[in-house]
């Protein structure tokens, strides 16, 4: 019951939008997302930290094909659902200061996307997974295409087609697995035990990897990302980078690791090498970016590269580190985009060379920005550190040289992040930032909560880790049998 509520409440409640005007839309949306968050927190409290799928609902749906409607959450899903429910109110808060034309549709699309995202994390069979995966794609296309920047038409179409190509390969893999299963089912638990030959597993590995590598993105499938992040409106970029790319990582954890052990033996190394290349590549390009949004986009490629590398190592530290880093990256990147949007609204520009001296005008913003940025750099006591430390340990166990190269990502991250901070926050202020309004109530709250969570996870991650650890260990057992 709780799962159905978490899943469908945003969608159904957004019918309220039909009756409201455009001015109230954002408050209604915020209210809906807060209720969603409350229910999710309740579910987290009621959750028993073992490796079972809980709060599950399993009903017949398409009888002729043996596909049922099966949703539920295990530890890893729960963390992702928590992340989604937590970030959506913040994303809605970030849009408060700007009046969007046709706001009703805008917030409806955001809530529809929340429904799709929750569905991806809550589904327990591959058919539902695929449906929600695509359902999450349509709203973000429209958000970016209708409210985005100037080049949005080509950029969003490229993003859409590129992502769909990957998803369709994943669909073929799903159908193939369904046909191979002895009882013709799409349920995860049954699919984990199918015996497949080495070459089949290799092909399936690439089918899945293509879909998830395009989603995350991993070098060299990342070309859609910087343009889309830059052209999308900020809530869109937050949804994309904060939650949607976690769908890709989640997919790897759910499908590639447990179902394709022989494929992992053959191709896991390639995947890790590609991820590590992405780390260095993303960081290097981020260092020369002048546009704040593109800088964050490339840094996102770097961070996701590390998450992906950690997960493919198939050891406990790598996996746990990856899960925590997903939470941390979600918080940090949303925070970063939040701050960038704030700066853009007040100074009219995202270009670093045109900014400076903001810390003087708004010390509160400087503090929040500092915390979020340090979280991104992975300074100890912030959430980023926990994740990156665990993942680097896992990677080191796998291959010390790769860990060394990946570690470069942290160093480069410090370089471009600190550099960006210095040039935007300190120094002389050019004319544009002479008038800098102080933070509004909504912005203050959102940034405070984000920073607090970054520090919370950094200081005591066990609150979240203990929810996911049994599920992660169980997954590794299946992966290594």
């Amino acid at each position: 019951m709780i799962t159905i509520f978490i899943l469908f409440f945003p969608l159904l409640a957004s019918i309220l939008f039909l009756f409201s005007g455009n001015e109230n839309a954002k408050k209604i949306a915020l209210g809906i997302s807060f209720i969603e968050l409350a229910v999710t927190i309740f579910a987290a409290i009621e959750f028993i930290p073992d490796s079972n799928v809980q709060f599950s609902l399993h009903v017949d749906w398409i009888r002729t094909l043996g596909i049922s409607f099966h949703v539920g959450m295990d530890g890893i899903s729960l963390l992702m659902v928590l992340l989604t429910s937590f970030l959506v109110p913040i994303i809605i808060l970030s849009s408060f200061s700007k009046e969007y034309t046709n706001a009703k549709s805008f917030y409806f699309l955001i809530l529809l996307m929340e429904c799709g995202l929750q569905g991806v994390f809550l589904s327990q069979n591959t058919f539902l997974f695929y449906i929600f995966w695509e359902v999450a794609l349509i709203p973000i296309y429209f958000i970016a295409a209708l409210w985005g920047g100037d080049k949005r038409i080509q950029v969003t179409l490229k993003f859409f087609i590129y992502t769909i190509l990957g998803s369709l390969f994943m669909l073929i893999a799903f159908i193939y697995l369904y046909l191979q299963s002895p009882t013709l089912t799409m349920d995860f638990q049954s699919l984990y035990h199918i015996e497949l030959s080495r070459s089949t597993q290799g092909i399936l590995f690439w089918a899945f990897f293509l879909a998830f590598a395009i989603k995350m993105p991993i070098f060299p499938f990342h070309t859609w990302q910087p343009d889309t992040y830059a052209e999308a409106p900020t809530p869109g970029s937050m949804l994309l980078s904060g939650i949607m790319l976690k769908m890709g990582v989640y997919g790897v954890i759910r499908f590639i690791l447990p179902m394709l052990p022989l494929g992992m033996e053959d191709w896991g190394n390639t995947a890790i090498v590609l991820s590590v290349i992405g780390i260095v590549y993303g960081s290097l390009i981020a260092m020369v970016q002048n546009d704040l949004k593109r800088l964050i986009a490339y840094s996102s490629i770097a961070h996701v590269g590390l998450i992906s590398a950690g997960i493919f190592t198939l050891n406990a530290q790598g996996l746990t580190g990856g899960i925590i880093q997903m939470l941390s990256h979600g918080l940090c990147v949303v925070g970063l985009f939040f701050v960038v949007d704030l700066i853009k609204k007040r100074t009219g520009t995202r270009i670093i060379t045109e900014l400076g001296g903001i810390a003087e005008k708004s010390p509160a913003l400087a503090i929040y920005f500092m915390i979020i940025m340090l979280g991104s750099i992975a300074l100890p006591l912030t959430s980023g550190f926990i994740g990156e430390y665990l993942m680097l340990t896992g990677l080191y166990e796998y291959n010390p040289y790769l860990a060394g190269i990946a570690g470069l990502g942290i160093i480069f991250g410090a370089v471009y992040m600190l550099n960006m901070y210095k040039r935007t926050m300190y120094g002389l202020s050019p004319l544009q930032s002479s008038e800098f309004k102080s933070l509004s109530m909504a912005e203050n709250t959102a940034l405070f909560v984000l920073s607090a969570c970054i520090l919370w996870i950094g200081i005591y991650p066990e609150t979240f880790l203990h929810l996911a650890r049994p599920a992660a260990n169980h997954l590794l057992e299946i992966a290594k049998h």
Binding site: I62, E134, A145, I153, L157, I161, L165, Y178
Partner: protein, 463 residues
């Protein structure tokens, strides 16, 4: 059988009504007539195998026939709902046009219930001749005359192939009855005889022409473009469904024991059809031509089901045809209105449509997403099911070609969405969509959504 008789009667009544002054009620008469026929048709579902094979074993109204007949009737109903769009497009009076539609679907119903090759020919001819006239009904437009001429000449040629093929098959197996042919083919001497092979291939060519498969598709864009748009809508949906049903029925009932011979040919045709349809559609600026190539592409996807040739494939074709037809009818319903307003056939007539009529734009966008295969709409499940059928037959490469083509199709379908939502309208005039079109749009939209979420509604009919 009752259905075919009633339908022919309805056609005659419509024709005669055109003589009297009640002809202003012609549309309600036809609509209610169709509804009555459909009601009687569905009520006889419980009496499957209506008295067994009929007319000397030439027709059999089995489950397959009942399902596809029902679909054809419903789709025709949706099109006839919009029949007042014919005003101004053509100077042929409405009763005659409606009669032609009714006789055409009588032919279609024969095409889905035959068990004798001559009946197949009869059904195809009845359907085609009515369509040749309908295609040319915009008598003052050169493009319409061209469309009718091309369709007629090439259709007659294809019918020639069909007849030749049928005679060769008769020569090889000694019978026209599908069951007898199938029995004769069990004999390897006959199965490998060049006469039979040549006959099957010629029939294959003729049917491929009918459904618009590559390389027999060249008539499709010109005919779709020249015909009145409502007729295009009819051709793209009802005729295609009937053609596929006939195609499948023939190969399922007669030739299912000789796969290797025509399977490879069909594989190549399928791959070419998908690819050529999708790639050429990218270059189209005119909506009707683009939809013609898109329908060629969908023919390609449906041919994958014919390659599978089992009972599940029947559900596959039924579902896919339904999903594709609903989306196409909705799209054309809106496009006809735009065409009337702007007199332009290009995608630019969709510019800024979302602001003028958000609901209709939404329905068009949903239909396009359904055609592109995006969940949770019916088109997605259709593609999913067809891909499953193909994968079960181990046709991996075909499925990969299908996926790549699905991605290509997203590009040209989304061009219309981009035009509607992201481009400025050409002028400020409001677009009036009449009530019947709204009804059609609502039905298509709801049906797409419901079928996408609960595909069992159709799949279980074929259990």
């Amino acid at each position: 059988m009752t259905t075919i008789v009633l339908l022919s009667l309805l056609g005659l009544i419509t024709l005669i009504t055109g003589l009297f002054t009640v002809k202003k009620y012609i549309l309600p008469i036809v609509v209610s007539g169709l509804l009555v026929v459909f009601a009687i048709h569905t009520s006889s579902i419980s009496i499957i195998n209506e008295n067994g094979p009929m007319f000397n074993n030439m027709m059999k109204f089995d489950q397959f026939s009942i399902l596809f007949s029902g679909l054809i009737l419903l789709l025709t109903l949706l099109i006839v709902f919009q029949a007042q769009k014919f005003e101004g497009e053509t100077d042929i009076p409405l009763p005659e046009l409606l009669t032609l539609f009714l006789f055409a679907i009588t032919g279609a119903l024969i095409m889905v219930s035959y068990t004798h090759l001559v009946m197949l020919f009869l059904g195809i001819e009845t359907l085609s001749i009515c369509l040749y006239v309908l295609a040319g009904s915009r008598r003052s437009e050169l493009s319409s005359n061209e469309a009718a001429m091309k369709y007629f000449l090439m259709g007659a040629f294809a019918s020639g192939f069909l007849l030749f093929g049928i005679t060769l098959i008769y020569g090889a197996t000694g019978s026209f009855h599908l069951a007898m042919i199938s029995a004769q083919i069990q004999n390897p001497a006959i199965a490998n005889s060049p006469m039979l092979i040549a006959g099957i291939l010629m029939v294959l060519i003729a049917l491929a022409f009918k459904v618009g498969a590559v390389p027999f598709h060249f008539w499709t864009p010109d005919v779709y473009e020249g015909s009145p748009t409502l007729v295009t809508s009819f051709m793209a949906t009802v005729v295609k469904t009937a053609g596929f049903a006939a195609f499948f029925r023939l190969f399922f009932l007669a030739f299912s024991h000789t796969p290797p011979m025509w399977n490879q040919t069909l594989w190549v045709i399928c791959a070419l059809t998908m690819t050529l349809g999708n790639i050429t559609a990218i270059y189209q600026n005119q909506v009707k031509r683009m939809m013609a190539y898109s329908s060629i592409a969908h023919t390609g996807y449906m041919l994958m089901a014919i390659l599978a040739l089992n009972q599940a494939a029947v559900s596959g074709i039924l579902f896919y045809a339904t999903a594709y037809a609903l989306a196409t009818i909705a799209l054309f319903a809106v496009f006809i209105t735009l065409q009337k307003n702007y007199k332009l056939d290009s995608i630019e007539s969709f510019n800024g449509f979302a602001k003028k009529n958000p609901f209709a734009a939404f329905v068009v966008a949903a239909s396009l997403c359904s055609l592109a295969g995006i969940p949770p709409l019916a088109g997605f499940f259709g593609k999913f099911y067809i891909f499953s059928l193909a994968l079960k037959q181990q046709n991996f490469w075909l499925v990969i070609i299908a996926i790549i083509n699905s991605c290509i199709s997203v590009y040209y379908y989304f061009r219309i969405i981009v035009a509607m939502y992201m481009k400025k309208a050409m002028d400020e005039q409001a677009i009036e969509i009449d009530r019947m079109s709204y009804l059609v749009l609502i039905i298509c939209m709801l049906a797409s959504l419901v079928l996408g979420l609960f595909p069992d509604l159709i799949l279980s009919l074929n259990a």
